[in-house]
Subunit: 241 residues, 4 copies
């Protein structure tokens, strides 16, 4: 079983004046947990900003195979200590999937080491998501491209390190391009960033998006796990030869 | 001085029924040689398919700092031995810039090791070329993007190894995206692939395109050069400690 | 089932004056086929230079999930057409593992695009193989390092593109280092190069080496497969938007 | 002129009981500043932990082309705010060279996003530093290898992201290997990590080490610089096409 923890700041969906409250009354985490939970090889839990310490403890992360993170307006409300715990557990082997505006979340920024900046517009652009790496596990079951009738527009340059694989590139009818699906290895942990998913569009109800997130969960599950990636052991004075 | 050799198959431009003959009566190589030749730090020569052995000898390549390659219908007319000479000299340190349909040229395919395949359409799309790596030497002097009113459309997936830097991504108004500017290191040699430049459009007269090719020449010039990258020296039986 | 094809030039082992004939009377391919064949998820076939067309046909490769390649003195005896078939099928999705002196084999050189050169000595050095990527699937079950009491010494620089993962680095008691385990993605195909395995040492009988090759087979098995990686489809004139 | 700022915690050298006080009475920063200062294209300043705010201000970094960082026991004494300033200015374009035990310095760890862990021994091993990328600017003027008669031993695994270039690998006569010279691009900034340089050995007086640091300074100097890499501009609602 792959143990997934879906973390969501869960702010927009509780605001009755925001469309998100209609689209995702159960929260974005609830929507993602629901479609992942239908899979026989996956068990899902959720956590939000409202939970004590964001619902994140070292022990809970040790029992998580893949964390999924959605955040936007509440990035600064996540304590540095929580972001550090998530980062460290990824280095220890936990997989991590960062969605949409989580590009500026503390755990993602810590793992990338860069600004993770981009440009953006809110103008109901249609996005066509192209597959650049058709052999990649995360792209299986997706055609040459798929379309999202409305999305927030993200534009280049995207301030991240060069990815291991550029799985998707997004085309927006307003004129932008964006590297929409990027993979990284950070020590034992696998990291996937996926751009679609603004809170005011039903993106996480799209079957292609659901398939990609499901593929990514299976791709990111740990090969091996350690407890002590941060250690720098002193091996003593003896030569080993 | 940077010694540049512009290689062009020079077929379309000699065909009076092809628009290329009007746009580039001097050949694409002639156009590129002209704007590069205005620079004080650059000397340019040209060579074409009509020249003996494609105008390529080992000695000529040894005296070339950066080769620029344009080919399309005549890829198969370039002998394997010529392609091997170019490949080897890149590994020895010569820079190489492959333009547009040179994605399927023998020297580029040999250096990549992959199919270098892509999809294409000829429908006069407008292309907007986005800068993804604004700090890269090849992107200096280019704004956030520039536009080409008409270009052949290239689409993903592009069958190449993951690049060191994805300097540009192209957006086409017909709906495609394409990784339009990619850098590679192949032993001592630097390689740049740049997608714009179909023969029926005046792309190489565009000032942004000219600036990019000029930047790429300066970026690709050798840091060091060797004569013998292909050797596997036997260092004898003695331990070196 | 993972369908493995072990290819070996099978020259040294048939020469009674060469130690290889004592160590591997069944051929290196026979030794590798034997230990892989014990696994329940693997079926193995073998092929050698003596077979018609090296035992390589397009159809046979289509029915191979992972090819393992060992060659040394007979690299030039492998026809270019055979090397091209192997390269193309890797791009289509077949996994490939290149062992030791296969660094100069035609299929590996074609996939890398570089000289694949290195330095070498034959002086019975002890090699200690260090794990650099302890979380990588290919390193599972290996400790921090393991030792081979005698090996041919390979030295840097190794003329290959920068790898996706540097899984192992070899330390030789004669004073050299060598990047001993490197992974690449080439379109749909996964490629692993592993340095130990000179024909005059019983390296392929070492349990760590066997574990690594077994891990690599499972790692390299195709995620997806295509028939037509080399195609460049013309999508017609119609805009797709 | 390349404006270099050499930062050193400057703790060991002030401790009369530590060998460093004899080897580097002027401090490691003083030694590095001296040999770099002899170059006509370089001006050097230094800063240490004793200076107010570590001698680091935003304005000073804006006027620095390349920062060199040495730290060991005092990593935790560097305020997070100082580390953040250094990280941000690297992303804005400033080059950065991290020496030896700076692998665990705050600015390096922030830029890598990983543990930067390794193993270590203090047993006066001889280190032989091998050149793996002979064409790289940082390796120019260095032979196939050079030796340091005594160094602290660093061992794999080194917990960093895969480097762009693995310029050097170290061989220790006690039996370890270590990726001794690694390059990274982090947005506009170039980063070089170089392993030799324990405070109790005269490593920074070695001519090869000096040449490498000098080469690295020239390699890391900014191509372009920005003030606002952290911004995520909202481009409004208007389509740009």
């Amino acid at each position: 079983m792959i143990r997934v923890l879906v973390w969501n700041e869960f702010m927009h969906e509780k605001d009755p004046s925001c469309k998100a409250s209609e689209i995702y009354p159960e929260g974005i985490h609830g929507c993602i947990a629901e479609f992942l939970g239908k899979e026989e090889d996956i068990v899902v839990e959720t956590a939000t900003l409202d939970d004590e310490n964001c619902g994140i403890t070292r022990e809970r992360l040790k029992n998580t195979d893949v964390i999924i993170w959605w955040g936007h307006c509440g990035h600064h409300k996540v304590p540095d200590s929580v972001a550090a715990l998530v980062q460290e557990e990824v280095l220890n082997g936990m997989g991590a999937i960062f969605l949409h505006s989580a590009h500026k979340s503390k755990p993602f920024m810590r793992l990338m080491g860069t600004s993770c900046s981009l440009t953006w517009r809110e103008s109901d652009d249609m996005e066509r998501v192209w597959v650049c790496a058709p052999g990649h596990p995360i792209a299986q079951g997706i055609g040459r491209y798929f379309e999202l009738p409305g999305e927030e527009t993200y534009g280049e340059p995207f301030g991240v390190p060069q990815a291991e694989e550029n799985v998707f590139i997004g085309w927006f009818d307003g004129g932008e391009v964006f590297r929409a699906g990027l993979t990284y290895t950070r020590e034992r942990g696998k990291v996937f960033y996926f751009q679609p998913g603004h809170e005011t569009y039903p993106t996480y109800k799209n079957e292609n998006v659901q398939r990609i997130i499901l593929n990514a969960v299976r791709w990111a599950k740990p090969v091996s796990r350690t407890d002590n990636c941060m250690d720098c052991p002193n091996l003593g004075k003896a030569h080993i030869i």
